[in-house]
Amino acid sequence: MPNTSLRGWGRTAPTTARVLAPRSAEEVVAAVTAPGPRGVIARGLGRSYGDPAQNAGGTVLDMTGLSAIHSIDADTGRVVVDAGMSLDTLMRRVLPFGLWLPVLPGTRQVTIGGAIGADIHGKAHHVVGSFGNHVESLDLVTADGALRTLTPDGEDAELFWATVGGMGLTGVVVRAVLRLHHVETAYFTVDTEQIDNLADLMERQTQDDELYAETVSWFDAVTTGPHFGRGILMRANHATLAELPPKLRANPLKFDAPQLLTVPDVFPPGLLNKLTGKLFSEAWYRKSPTRFGAIQNITQFLHPLDIIGEWNRGYGPRGFLQYQFVVPLDRADVIRTVLERMTRAGQVSALNVLKRFGAGNRAPLSFPKPGWTLCVDIPVGPGLNALCNELDAIVLDAGGRHYLAKESRTTPEAIRRGYPRLDEWRKVRDAADPGGVFASDMSRRLELA
């Protein structure tokens, strides 16, 4: 059996595994019940930045072949869908029915299974919570080869919530029932505000957040001095039909999401440096002047990076990491401290996303909890390790934690501290998978399972 080298979206730490592409739940069962000495893990579209969808020396199930929609109920918003389908495809299929996925992360190129495994969040978290909150039931192939249907409040609720955010380590999700929202149009009415420093940006984001369905801010960590952390606060609600200009009213549920270009795999290391970072930040800031009530489509508002395919190649062959953490609301000071440390260490992060989370859910390993979450992109290079270790200490001391879907380099200890319910999760996982069939590079690296 040939081996395939796999990496995450950050293009770091490649390892090889035997990749199988099951076409049915039965084929998943067959793979799970013949796991070999190094186990099995499911992989979707490979958008996790680190190594949760790799399994060195073992089996990796490429789930993208399992991608059918079984039913759509336009009235109740219930859809039954296979785990390998991408959010992008699902949205295209359900929008004509006036249905909307309540949780959309920064890219639509993730699978339903991945969205459950990482319990992903989006710009609407403060209102709708994370992905697991919208799953009515899921079908999980467990280590014994059984296909179990789990619900959030049923008999197997513990396993359901261990699977939500469980990074694929409880089993393989093959199908899910999701509850979608109703919308009149596929557009947003967007309020954009340019705010010229970090303190004001955070202050402004704290006010009126509940009036908007989606809020996020992008800021610039390259500019120093009094304009340190200047940024753009973007907040939006779903546009009603009446709010659309006449031109768009003819086809209000049109899915407007072009991919204009794909980045070739030719970039040298170090292309993203202080100069290009500065240019990018400036352009990003300038393109979004303060403006209220603008009508924008999905790509403009939610997924500006989806216009460019394979944009991660722009970081060159050494790859990059995305550092995302959450700290409690009363430790908003950490955001500034982290940015200052990064700037002092000479690290350039061109794209920084800051958001205020709402309440978390019941999943022991779910990342979101009430607080501020910051996400920065950093190219891999000298000094990065020391900086990240320093940031880890700041974040953990403030009662924060790391997002496993982005994580690629921290210690088992950091995860234990950030996720105090890790042992509770382990108990459920160990009961469902006593032989340790499900394993990934991440589970070995962070000693999760």
Binding site: N3, G57, G58, V380, S408, R444, R445
Partner: protein
């Protein structure tokens, strides 16, 4: 696992008292505590090495290993992997020998060849098998510039390193499809116990400097490195110098 910024979690040193090998472990351990297996013949020097690494926060295990006892190698390598994956394995054992004795005394010559070449090949095969199965990992082999062109003053040692170098260079290619990264390291004259009392060659270096080269090579998955780096150019020239001139050079 080796993480996104190149930190390993576990390390196996074959030749557990090798100064270069230990310097590599210390360099990695300065970023993160490691699980370390030191494979060597039991000695007070090995105990000291263990104590030093434990002070850095490493969990250290000693594993009795005699390079000359070839038939024990499979069991030793098996035990080295008993505690879990090995992220970085370093083949660092070797003898320098006395060249004048080695080319005139058959026992001395055979001992050098067995330790430096045969034993290195033996563990190379066994490590390759394990690393291939685990689907990831780095394998570092300490070669020498002495293997690049045989010198009158050091050719028996040089010949053994030439053999090791060729074997591990080939192993680099053989293990590549399995996610295993092999690095062949060619140090020049390194100030260690092994070279004590010898006249240092030009561009001489220290174990710590070699370690820095090795750590960088593992992190960036380089397959062949010289320590110090300028030796690459120097050796490239020396390899092609005509013999009549080469034998007159003070190297």
């Amino acid at each position: 696992m080796i993480d996104a910024v190149g930190n390993p979690q576990s390390l196996l040193l074959l030749g557990g008292t090798s100064e270069i090998g230990l310097a590599v472990i210390e360099a990695f351990a300065s970023d993160r505590p490691l699980r370390v297996v030191l494979a060597a013949r039991p000695s007070s020097r090995l105990d000291e090495a263990q104590a030093r690494l434990e002070k850095l926060g490493c969990a250290v295990e000693q594993l009795p290993f005699d390079a000359k006892a070839l038939d024990t190698h499979p069991a030793v390598v098996g035990k080295a992997f008993a505690g879990g994956d090995v992220d970085v394995a370093i083949v660092a054992f070797g003898l320098l020998g006395d060249n004048e004795q080695a080319w005139t005394d058959v026992d001395a010559a055979v001992e050098l060849a067995q330790v430096n070449y045969t034993a290195a090949v033996s563990v190379g095969v066994l490590l390759g098998e394990r690393l291939k199965a685990q689907g990831h990992g780095a394998l570092v082999a300490l070669s020498s510039v002495a293997g690049e062109r045989a010198r009158r003053s050091n050719f028996v040692y040089g010949s053994t390193k030439a053999g090791l170098d060729a074997f591990y260079s080939g192993l680099t290619e053989a293990l590549r499809p399995f996610g295993v990264h092999v690095t062949v390291v060619r140090p020049g004259f390194v100030h260690t116990r092994m070279t004590e009392g010898l006249k240092p060659a030009p561009l001489s270096t220290t174990p710590d400097a070699v370690a820095a080269v090795v750590v960088d090579a593992v992190r960036t998955r380089k397959e062949l490195v010289w320590a110090p780096a300028p030796l690459r150019v120097v050796m490239s020239v020396l390899r092609h110098v005509p013999r009549v001139i080469f034998r007159r050079l003070p190297v």
